[in-house]
């Protein structure tokens, strides 16, 4: 029941989500979701389609308004802050589907990302160093790049803003596995510069490989929350598909007094 690996400052999460409820019209996409991400972590959200993962990231980024709940960055409430202000405060999203500026070149995409950047180690030059191929092709229009290359540019565009929390939404979508692995392989270099990563991933095994902490969503509820080392594949599967799981709101962080299902190892969340 220890907090090892959760950052030096176990008491202060960098990003905190409290009881977040989000609706799409009449549909409740997220139901009182809570999570805490500590500095330097790779926090992975997994779950099937429609579980609410992307909605969660988009709401954290400010592109969607929650019905209830709050989002805190470094202890400060940013729930009402506009998305562009959230980006300049340090929450930067790499959206699902890349969403590059199609009529702009690679370099121009990065330049836009750097326009309102915070001070920090990441520059356009450094992004070129991270992705070796990019410097030569920097004048090319992004619509002409391959999927993996576009994903790299999208990540680069977010990096040059020098975020504190990097939100990665479904990096693997539409990409060949070897490409996905290569991109995830960059994570350590990214983390080394002091960033924290919160990612959403449909590919569970990939998520398990890179994450330092895991949360599984199902139909807007949290069904699992643990460190990868502490759970078995069966437990993850059970959480993913909702087997033996009672429907209903997940108990608030720190209040859980019993395992979610028989046989699981509790993750400790000393508050």
């Amino acid at each position: 029941m220890s907090e090892q690996g959760r950052g030096e400052d176990a008491a202060d999460p960098l990003l905190e989500v409290r009881e977040l409820t989000v609706h799409h019209g009449q549909l409740r996409a997220l139901d009182r979701i809570s999570l805490r991400v500590f500095p330097g972590e790779v926090y992975a959200i997994i779950g099937a389609n429609g579980a609410g993962k992307s909605t969660l990231l988009r709401t954290i980024a400010g592109l969607h308004h929650p019905t209830e709940g709050s989002i805190l960055l470094d202890g400060q409430d940013v729930t009402r802050v506009r998305p562009e202000r959230r980006a300049t405060r340090g929450i930067v999203l790499v959206p699902e589907g890349r969403r590059l500026f199609g009529s702009l070149s690679v370099e121009e995409n990065l330049q836009v990302g750097a326009t309102y950047a915070r001070k920090g180690p990441w520059t356009i030059e450094r992004v070129y160093e991270l992705f070796g191929w990019m410097r030569e092709r920097r004048a090319q229009r992004t619509a002409q790049l391959s999927g993996g290359e576009q994903q790299s540019v999208a990540i680069g565009r977010a990096l040059v803003a020098n975020p504190r929390v990097l939100l990665l939404d479904e990096l693997s979508l539409g990409l060949a596995p070897v490409v996905v692995q290569r991109i995830y392989g960059m994570l350590p270099q990214i983390l080394a510069t002091g960033l924290t990563v919160l990612l959403v991933e449909q590919d569970v095994s990939q998520a398990l490989r890179v994450a330092s902490h895991l949360q599984c969503l199902l139909e807007g509820h949290t069904t699992l929350e643990a460190r990868p080392a502490e759970v078995t594949a069966e437990q993850v599967e059970a959480a993913y598909f909702g087997l033996n799981v009672r429907p209903g709101p997940a108990p608030a962080v720190g209040e859980r007094s019993e395992p979610l299902w028989p046989g699981s190892t509790r993750s400790s969340r000393a508050s």
Partner: protein, 291 residues
């Protein structure tokens, strides 16, 4: 030779029409707004210039220096308030609001300034005269100046959009405004900048037209808006130089029509516009068909 003269006149008036059109093209390209009050705003620019000249007796050039930034500021404010509010609701609302604005402006001008048309006196004899090439070709200096101005404005716009920070932001926001938000850009502010530029060019267009011809309350819709739109459609959206091409084609079509029968001038332009609409609705310079 009269035909050659007509074609040259048409090409030169194309510059004026391009000036009409580039603001409309910019606002549609960036914000997807069809500003039905576009022409009326040009007329306002012209009227304000007339007012300034009447009161201060300054030369026309000074009035341009005052009116263009003034209108640009108006554009920013109008975009951030009225137009953004309409955009947030729906495309229909934007059309209604800009149409309403057009009606209010025109009838307001009618009410306060009567239906009489006014011209912007240039005072400078050289500008109002023309020079000859051969025996049948007369070219007005003013028209050449206007054409040159249009080319300079388009060049300036192109440079601004491709090289400057805000130009990049404008293009980015036009591509994907949500993605721009994620990069920290407030797209409403960027829209405002684009609108300011559009309104600035529109003011210039109004003043140019006031010098070349006359301004009346209904000129905004009768002439400027419809010609601007025709130039944009013929030339193709998404290309500044396409706007110049469209203006030129429109101008030439009108002059050729006028050669056949003086009263066919405006109609000829519209017929060419309709033909382009049928055959190649994406415009002459577009690379691929628009849906």
């Amino acid at each position: 030779m009269a035909w050659v003269n007509a074609i040259i006149q048409g090409i030169l008036t194309g510059g004026l029409y391009a000036l009409f059109a580039c603001g409309l093209s910019l606002m549609f390209g960036v914000m997807k707004v069809v500003n039905l009050a576009h022409g009326d705003l040009a007329v306002i620019g012209g009227y304000v210039a007339i007012g300034i000249i009447t009161v201060t007796h300054l030369p026309v050039l000074w009035s341009i220096v005052v009116v263009v930034p003034l209108m640009a500021a108006l554009g920013y404010v109008l975009q951030r308030t009225l137009i953004q509010a309409s955009l947030d609701r729906s495309v229909l609302t934007t059309l209604i609001v800009t149409f309403g604005l057009s009606v209010v402006i025109e009838n307001g001008l009618l009410q306060f300034f009567t239906a009489n048309s006014r011209a912007i006196g240039t005072g400078n004899a050289i500008i109002t005269s023309s020079f000859s090439l051969g025996s049948q070709i007369q070219i007005a200096y003013l028209l050449v100046v206007i054409f040159a101005t249009a080319v300079i404005v388009l060049l300036g716009l192109q440079y601004f959009l491709s090289r400057s920070k805000y130009g990049r932001l404008i293009r980015a926001v036009a591509d994907d405004k949500e993605a721009a938000q994620m990069c920290g850009a407030d797209y409403r502010h960027v829209f405002g900048i684009a609108a300011a530029i559009a309104f600035g060019t529109v003011a210039l267009a109004g003043i140019a037209y006031g010098m070349y011809s006359q301004l009346a309350p209904t000129t905004g819709t009768d002439t400027i808006l419809l010609f601007a739109f025709a130039a944009v459609v013929i030339g193709g959206l998404g290309s500044l130089w396409g706007t110049l091409l469209g203006g030129v084609v429109l101008g030439v079509a009108q002059q050729i029509g006028a050669q056949i029968n003086i009263s066919y001038e405006v109609l000829a332009g519209y017929l060419v516009f309709l033909a382009v609409l049928v055959v190649r609705p994406e415009g002459l310079t577009a690379r691929r068909a628009r849906s």
